[in-house]
């Protein structure tokens, strides 16, 4: 019942915060969000699962209750955690708490609604990562859209209405494609009696679908694989479906950006791993080369786009596209280190991009600008915040002893030696080149904004960042370094959950 407790606390907290007075909403939401954060850390400590949730693994904190019958199929409330989902749940609760703290300064109107929505999104995100029944999972997956749409639309920048609706339409259409594909798959699988993901995964590995509406079994599997891939590709996002991301990020208020980059993008890669790369090993093998090509293009093209930006937030946004490319490359390598590294990168990127967006937000709160060209010598005025920003940037570039290094190292190590992916050495070395561009644009941007003489002309004082902002930046930085120094903290449980996938059907 622990997962239910997590979700319930966040949900009830959301309702309470929504009707609380604006004055206390921020502090109240922070206090409430500490409960799921502490609970999830306790879950992390008490984790006793093993194996992969979809491959007959031992689930931690599992609970299942019949929900409804749809014809011959039963749907249940089915939640549980394995080594892949647990770190993501912890990431969610921690980032939500920090996002709430980072909202204290910039959010100055309709606070109770804002914090209510953040807590609501937290509840839904925990649900996404813990649900193991497709129907339940989809409910959470879609429900995330509504609060994010409102967060961008109400508290966003000047073009917020456009960005909000673009985000909503893109991801909603993608969800429908994905949803239709998966339902078709379940109907095509003759002997499945429920929407529970483990059951569908087992049926897929033991023969696959019988066919539906005149499509043969293998064709149906391929069509569904592509449908799901497209659906998740928008969420990740993978080039060429990434265009909603920069708009959403630039217009979103900083706390929403933190959650968007830190957790919402991981929904896409998590789903890819859970569905495409767990249920369809044959299709992964068949489409490995095109997927790897898309991944490498995302890495290089995303980085090039970042290089061309002058808005700090846009730079970080496009760099997310690039980082997600690494995740896809790791997944398609289909080795222990490849898929494990990809999962590790999800966590690592969640922390680092959260850190970067938060730092950019702190700078914006003080300077009221995000344009690289307007700023110079900020290190002089806000030494600690800028210091953390620089540290985060180095984490992004993959400086050893930071989590970014471990993640990228695992991915490259895994993809270089991949047997499933042809030309794996070529793809890996091309993707590695992406790191050079990342270092290029980050250093270039930092050099112009934080170093050099201070020359921002403002009629207000640009001073040090508030203590609570610096504290949350330091927490994130601490986690980044912690995972960089001791990746085994989570990498062990990740590989434990990955192994059944990459070693094929036999455990």
């Amino acid at each position: 019942m622990m997962i239910e407790a997590l979700i319930a606390v966040a949900l009830i907290g959301a309702l309470v915060t929504f009707v609380a007075p604006n004055r206390i909403a921020g502090k109240l939401a922070f206090a409430i969000s500490l409960v799921p954060a502490a609970l999830s850390l306790w879950l992390f400590g008490a984790f006793d699962g093993s194996g992969n949730a979809l491959r007959g693994g031992e689930l931690a904190f599992e609970s299942q209750a019949a929900w409804l019958e749809i014809g011959d199929y039963s749907i249940s409330w089915f939640v549980g955690l394995d080594g892949i989902s647990l770190p993501l749940v912890v990431l969610t609760t921690i980032l939500c708490t920090l996002a709430i703290v980072s909202s204290w300064t910039p959010i100055d109107e309709r606070q109770s609604q804002f914090y209510g929505l953040i807590l609501f999104i937290e509840a839904m995100l925990i649900g996404v990562f813990s649900a193991l029944d497709f129907f339940l999972w989809f409910v959470f997956w879609e429900a995330v859209l509504i609060p994010m749409y409102l967060l961008i639309g109400i508290w966003g920048g000047p073009r917020r209405k456009y960005a909000a609706i673009k985000f909503f339409v893109y991801t909603n259409v993608a969800s429908l494609v994905m949803f239709g594909s998966f339902v078709a798959l379940v109907f095509g699988l003759g002997d499945v009696t429920s929407f529970a993901l483990p059951e569908v995964a087992t049926a897929m590995l033991e023969g696959g679908p019988d066919g539906l509406f005149g499509l043969s079994g293998t064709t149906l599997a391929s069509v569904v694989f592509i449908g799901l891939f497209l659906g998740f590709a928008v969420k990740v996002p993978i080039v060429p479906f990434h265009t909603w991301l920069p708009d959403a990020h630039v217009e979103a208020p900083t706390p929403a950006s933190i959650l968007l980059a830190g957790v919402l993008l991981k929904m896409g890669t998590y789903a890819l791993l859970r569905f495409n790369f767990t249920m369809f090993p044959d299709q992964v093998e068949a489409y490995a080369v095109p997927i790897a090509a898309i991944a490498v293009i995302s890495v290089i093209y995303g980085a090039m786009l970042a290089l061309a930006q002058t808005d700090l937030k846009r730079i970080v946004a496009y760099s997310s596209v690039s980082s997600m490319g690494y995740v896809i490359l790791g997944l398609v390598a289909y080795t222990q280190f490849g898929v494990g590294g990809a999962t590790f990168q999800m966590i690592s990127h969640g922390l680092i991009s959260g850190l970067m967006f938060m730092a950019v937000g702190v700078i914006y709160n003080a300077t009221h600008t995000r344009m690289v060209t307007d700023m110079s010598g900020l290190a002089d005025r806000m030494p600690i915040a800028v210091g953390v920003l620089i540290a985060g940037a180095f984490g992004y570039m993959g400086l050893p002893l930071m989590s970014g290094f471990a993640a990228e190292y695992f991915i490259f190590f895994g993809s270089f030696g991949s047997e499933l992916l042809s030309y794996s050495a070529l793809f890996t070395s091309l993707a590695m080149f992406g790191i050079v561009i990342v270092a290029g644009y980050l250093l270039f941007a930092l050099q112009r904004t934080v170093f050099g003489p201070y020359r921002l002309e403002t009629d207000y004082e640009v001073g040090r960042a508030p203590v609570h902002d610096v504290a949350s930046l330091l927490v994130l930085l601490g986690l980044v370094v912690l995972l960089g120094v001791a990746p085994d903290l989570i990498f062990d449980m990740i590989t434990d959950a990955i192994d059944p996938i990459v070693q094929g059907g036999d455990l």
């Binding site: 749809i70 409910v139 909000a164 239709g180």
Partner: protein, 508 residues
């Protein structure tokens, strides 16, 4: 089995309670004709509706009308003129819920209104008619129930006597209603001519006798479909709906678009399954009548949606969206040619139940806006969320639910409808088109529903507004509807069982 044998007519209690409530209100009105004691009037109505709801729920739970050894079996009253089964009880529940919500909301909406008692008694009379529509099992009783619903409804639409829009809407509604009643009753006479019976089972038994008069029977069925289309606001008799809903007082729009639509559908479900079993009817008239519903469903949902997308007036948008939803529910009749017909019909019934909450709530929010006097267009609604966040959050729930976004009830019912239709489509490929239309229309509908959410939550108000009042009744009804819309998905298991069971009793 029952400890005491109750008389069979007591099975009609949910409808009888409503009728008694109407009489009490009349009595009150005749003793104190100019009473404006809103609390007593609205309170009486609410108590009556809730009592009806409680009895209907109790019957449904106790197994009245359900088949099986433990249960009471389907109850025939007056030689099968009325029948109480799970289908009837399900819709009696829907009608009672909507009536209660509307009555609670009317308490504030009717502030300073002259005809208080008349309003409530007409409302309850119409509800009685709807409840009777659920149990009518003969074309005569069906027609009487239909008229018992329609006549008070005309008056209710036009009850804002000094409001030009209201009167105009009432007249339009009346004219089209009279026309469709005439068509319906003509259809009844043709069916009677062909089969020599009016009682539904008897019609089914005498279908063979129609023999050469198959064409006549077919025409009769077509006319009955016309009558149903009017009551459910489906193509081709849908065009009264935007006018009537827009002109009527908002609680009445809510009442008509939710309860009246549901009553129209239960009538259609019962008449077409009981009186015109598909195979026998096809043998006589030569056409499979489910085709009419396949076409009507697709046309109705598409037309409703596209028209809704172009509206500037919120109430009209909701009116067209209500037409679109009638299209979704029509799939319940379209799929009867397949072996999963009962499942699809069950899903359609669940959609009507959820719709009873989300659509009623949405119209009541419009009622709240009218109460505030903020205007009628999307722009007039701009920025209301800053002043009334709770009501606007409820409205956002209704809108997302109508659009079929999880985790709200509308998602669940549309999903059930979709997945059962896909299942049925393996036998009748035309249903694949209906399922596709459902998904596409549902996606497109997000455009205009989210537009309202955007207006409420994201846009800045055009004009400065005074502080908005928080009328207890309207707020209570809206919040109650929103809470149910938000959590009903959790209770879908038992609801789906009841609905499918109920559909199975008539589909057979």
């Amino acid at each position: 089995m029952a400890v005491i044998d109750l008389p069979q007519w007591l099975a009609l209690a949910p409808a009888l309670i409503l009728a008694a409530t109407a009489l009490v209100l009349f009595l009150f009105d005749s003793i104190n004709p100019h009473s404006t004691n809103r609390t007593v009037l609205s309170g009486t109505t609410v108590i009556g509706a809730l009592a009806s709801l409680a009895v209907a729920v109790w019957y449904a739970a106790a197994g009245v009308g359900a088949t099986g050894i433990e249960n009471y079996g389907v109850i025939d009253i007056m030689d099968g003129q009325f029948v109480v089964d799970q289908l009837a009880l399900f819709f009696m529940i829907v009608v009672a819920i909507v009536t209660a919500l509307v009555a609670v909301a009317s308490h504030d909406y009717l502030q300073d209104h002259t005809y208080q008692a008349e309003y409530y008694s007409l409302l309850v009379l119409a509800a009685t008619g709807m409840s009777m529509m659920a149990v009518s099992n003969s074309l005569v009783t069906v027609f009487i129930a239909l008229e018992l619903t329609s006549l008070p409804s005309y008056a209710l639409v036009a009850i804002l006597k000094d409001n030009r829009g209201s009167v105009e809407a009432g007249l339009k509604y009346f004219l089209i209603g009279a026309l469709s009643s005439a068509i319906f009753v003509y259809g009844v006479s043709l069916v009677y001519g062909a089969t020599g019976s009016l009682q539904l089972e008897a019609i089914a038994a005498n279908l063979d006798a129609a023999g050469e008069m198959g064409g006549l029977l077919g025409l009769g069925i077509l006319m009955l479909i016309g009558g149903v289309a009017f009551k459910t606001a489906s193509v081709p008799f849908h065009f009264w709906a935007p006018e009537a809903y827009e002109g009527a007082p908002a609680p009445i729009s809510a009442f008509l678009s939710s309860a009246s639509k549901a009553a129209g559908f239960v009538l259609a479900f019962r008449v077409f399954t009981t009186a015109f079993p598909l195979e026998a009817t096809t043998a006589v008239i030569g056409v499979d009548w489910t085709w009419a519903f396949v076409i009507l469903a697709i046309v109705t949902m598409t037309l409703g949606n596209f028209a809704a997308a172009t509206q500037e007036n919120v109430k009209r948008m909701l009116a067209y969206s209500s037409i679109g939803h009638a299209g979704y529910v029509l799939i319940g009749l379209a799929a009867l040619s397949t072996s999963s017909g009962d499942l699809v019909m069950g899903a359609a019934m669940i959609h009507l139940l959820v719709y009873g909450f989300m659509n009623t709530g949405a119209f009541l929010f419009v009622g709240l806006a009218e109460y505030w006097g903020v205007g009628r267009t999307f722009e007039d609604y701009n920025g209301l969320a800053t002043q009334a966040p709770v009501a606007c959050a409820a409205m956002a729930v209704f809108m997302f639910s109508l659009a079929g976004i999880p985790p709200f009830g509308g998602f669940g019912s549309k999903y059930l409808l979709f997945s059962h239709t896909i299942e049925a489509a393996t036998e009748n490929t035309a249903l694949l088109a209906a399922a596709a239309a459902l998904v596409i229309n549902s996606t497109l509908s997000l455009y205009y529903y989210s537009r309202l959410v955007k207006a409420l939550w994201i846009e800045e108000p055009l004009l400065e507004r005074d502080t908005l009042a928080k009328p207890t009744g309207l707020y209570a009804a809206i919040v109650a509807a929103a809470v149910v819309t938000a959590v009903i998905l959790a209770a879908f298991g038992p609801i789906a069982d009841v609905a499918t069971e109920a559909a199975a009793t008539v589909v057979g």
